[in-house]
């Protein structure tokens, strides 16, 4: 145990022990088989024509969760931006310190990751993959490119950067509101354009999730490289 003064403290031990007993008892009381909403979801997905049920749940049945979740991502980006120490720090170089190994790795890996991201989105409706996974891989590729000095975003809170960060959420809101004009409710895609709209959202979300993850990293990383405190 690390710091003898702090790690083995009584209250945390009681709390986690209590949780263990309380939750353990609840888990053991469960019947060994149950299917939740799996059957309904599978049938629903079959009707909507999306083979990957997880994608159907995320973007169709529970698309509202996903809309709010994109809001969470953008909110977190704004939050991290608001915590910058020095607004000018973002425009400074934050990388360019790649060694030969990281450089070579990036040269092979980054294009591959971007391809993988595209592939994940494309197959997302029928196989594992989709906007979240694709976006995450895209964001990771971006981080790698920046870390090794291949990409130098002019990250200065300029209008264009703000647009890139926002356009995914705005488009999603637009698509969510669009069915209202036809008498449907929020996010109720019309049957004839459902598949197209979902694919459109997937692509937008991939880009915006990728941009959010990258900017979460950039906004915080640049604070490190921003130099000394004023």
């Amino acid at each position: 145990m690390g710091d003898p003064r702090h790690f083995p403290a009584l209250l945390p031990l009681l709390a986690s022990g209590g949780v263990l007993a309380f939750v353990g008892r609840a888990v053991l009381a469960l019947p060994p088989t149950a299917s939740g909403l799996a059957v309904e979801m599978r049938d629903g997905a079959k009707a909507s024509g999306i083979k990957n049920v997880v994608t159907a749940v995320l973007l169709d049945f529970r698309g509202y969760d996903t809309l709010l979740e994109i809001a969470v991502l953008m909110l977190a980006t704004v939050a991290v931006l608001s915590l910058r120490e020095d607004p000018a720090a973002l425009s400074r170089r934050i990388a360019g310190r790649a060694g030969p190994v990281l450089g070579a790795l990036t040269r092979t890996l980054a294009p591959l990751m971007i391809l993988v991201a595209g592939h994940l989105v494309w197959v997302g409706s029928s196989e594992p993959g989709g906007a979240f996974q694709g976006g995450a891989v895209l964001g990771a590729a971006g981080i790698l490119l920046v870390l090794s000095g291949y990409a130098q975003p002019a990250w200065a809170g300029q209008r264009i950067v703000r647009w890139v960060l926002t356009v995914g959420l705005l488009a999603f809101i637009g698509v969510a509101l669009y069915p209202m004009f036809g008498g449907g409710s929020l996010l109720q895609y019309p049957a004839e354009s459902r598949k197209g709209l979902i694919l459109f959202i997937e692509i937008l979300l991939t880009l915006s999730i990728g941009a959010s993850i990258l900017s979460l990293f950039l906004a915080s990383a640049s604070a490190t490289a921003g130099g000394e405190r004023p």
Binding site: P12, G36, V80, F132
Partner: protein
């Protein structure tokens, strides 16, 4: 006893471990890591218990919930780390036990 129970039990243990770390570890970054372990614990419980389907194949609903949860957790983590860094720059303190010497705030 079956496979789902192994992962669920692991999730419960992981959650308890994370709770302990969040409350007991002093360094703020350790607290952030602990919260992430709590999250992973809950996700394991969610998907573990979603693997009890008699007709085979895991329940897609917990999977969707976990995907959402992972994204939310990274957002929380990013915010937490940003605050920790800013606080450290301002005061040189990396925990919540010590008080900053000069608190000038409105």
């Amino acid at each position: 006893m079956s496979t789902y129970l192994v992962y669920t039990a692991g999730g419960v243990l992981l959650y308890a471990l994370g709770t302990y770390g969040l409350l007991a570890r002093r360094h703020l970054i350790h607290k952030v890591i602990s919260a992430n372990f709590m999250g992973s614990g809950v996700f394991l419980i969610l998907i573990g218990l979603g693997n009890r389907s008699p007709e085979g194949g895991p329940d897609p609903v917990p999977q969707a919930m976990v995907l959402t949860g992972i994204v939310v957790t990274v957002a929380l983590t990013a915010l937490g780390l940003a605050i920790v860094k800013r606080y450290y720059t301002a005061t040189g303190i990396d925990n919540l036990d010590d008080e900053p010497s000069a608190g000038g705030d409105r």
